[in-house]
Symmetry: C2
Subunit: 185 residues, 2 copies
Amino acid sequence: MDKKEKILQAALKLFITVGFDGTSTSKIAAQADVSNGTLFHYFKTKEELINKLFLKAKNDYREYILNNMKSSKNTKGKIFEFWSACLEWIFNNPESIAFYDMFSSSPYIDKLTIEEASRGFDLVDQMIMEGIENESLTDAPVELISGYIYASINSFKYYKQNNPDQADEYKELAFKMLWRSIANF
Amino acid sequence: MDKKEKILQAALKLFITVGFDGTSTSKIAAQADVSNGTLFHYFKTKEELINKLFLKAKNDYREYILNNMKSSKNTKGKIFEFWSACLEWIFNNPESIAFYDMFSSSPYIDKLTIEEASRGFDLVDQMIMEGIENESLTDAPVELISGYIYASINSFKYYKQNNPDQADEYKELAFKMLWRSIANF
DNA sequence: GTCTATAAGCTGATAGAC
DNA sequence: GTCTATCAGCTTATAGAC
């Protein structure tokens, strides 16, 4: 693995355990088995490092989703695929998610990064608009529906974190609850 | 206002704008019009200060909720009251919420504080258990339902932040969507 | 690309006068 | 309770050799 990648990985681990403040660049460098100077060769500032890390997490996430939903044809199936893929990624990448939760509303992540990170998730909006048009989804603002989808994902994530053993048996129910709230009956 | 309160207010403002790291104790003291020594008289460490602030935010929130829901008798009404009260508080106290979002998953907030903060919100669990018993709520795990309620609140919060003008006209719909997902039909 | 050496500046926290 | 004065230690970042 090249040093740049090692630095990013070390930083991720440290940031989520001791925060941005608690993580000095020298600690990152030490953990990555790299000199302090090398760190500043790859990243002009500590802030640039954290912003790059943020974008990387978002892109990995997005890519996983895009690669894991292409079979379903109707709206309900598509949304279920999206919902499932998100949860799969979340549970296979707990560190990235912890990092994202911790820093998404942090002043260290600048506006440009957030904007760039949010781009590309518009496939959700597209699914929803399609669903409203073909009358399988309730006629509500797209953002309200997408918000509910994300909310359901988040809610199930917390549930599974607190009840790792029972969660899977309630997965279908959790999606059914989401679907009931956004479907057009 | 006494100096302790002034320190807490100054700290809140600084923390949400420039983060924990960016906010030095001397800046807090300066902003609060108080000497550095005085700050350390009231709070043994910087960490203690942020933990106290976190508890204060949570308690203010809880108190507002408790004082704003006592009239409804059936489950749907109670949950709507809770849902509304949460959103009201959120929009009247944006700084506290920003602070909470920023630090709820932060290593500066210790486990004891989080535990103490989460206590007292069990009125939600109570409402839900009541609702499941009298068959107005779907028979799902309490945590799954409560999670969905919190998620719905969060979702509408984001919607209103991005669409401040249209949000109010969709408030009823947003609650209806929540209710459809957790009600027993 | 990678390292070592280096430093100015700020940090949280203390001590002690009033 | 509140202040001033003070500090040891660590911080991010740079410069320059290899």
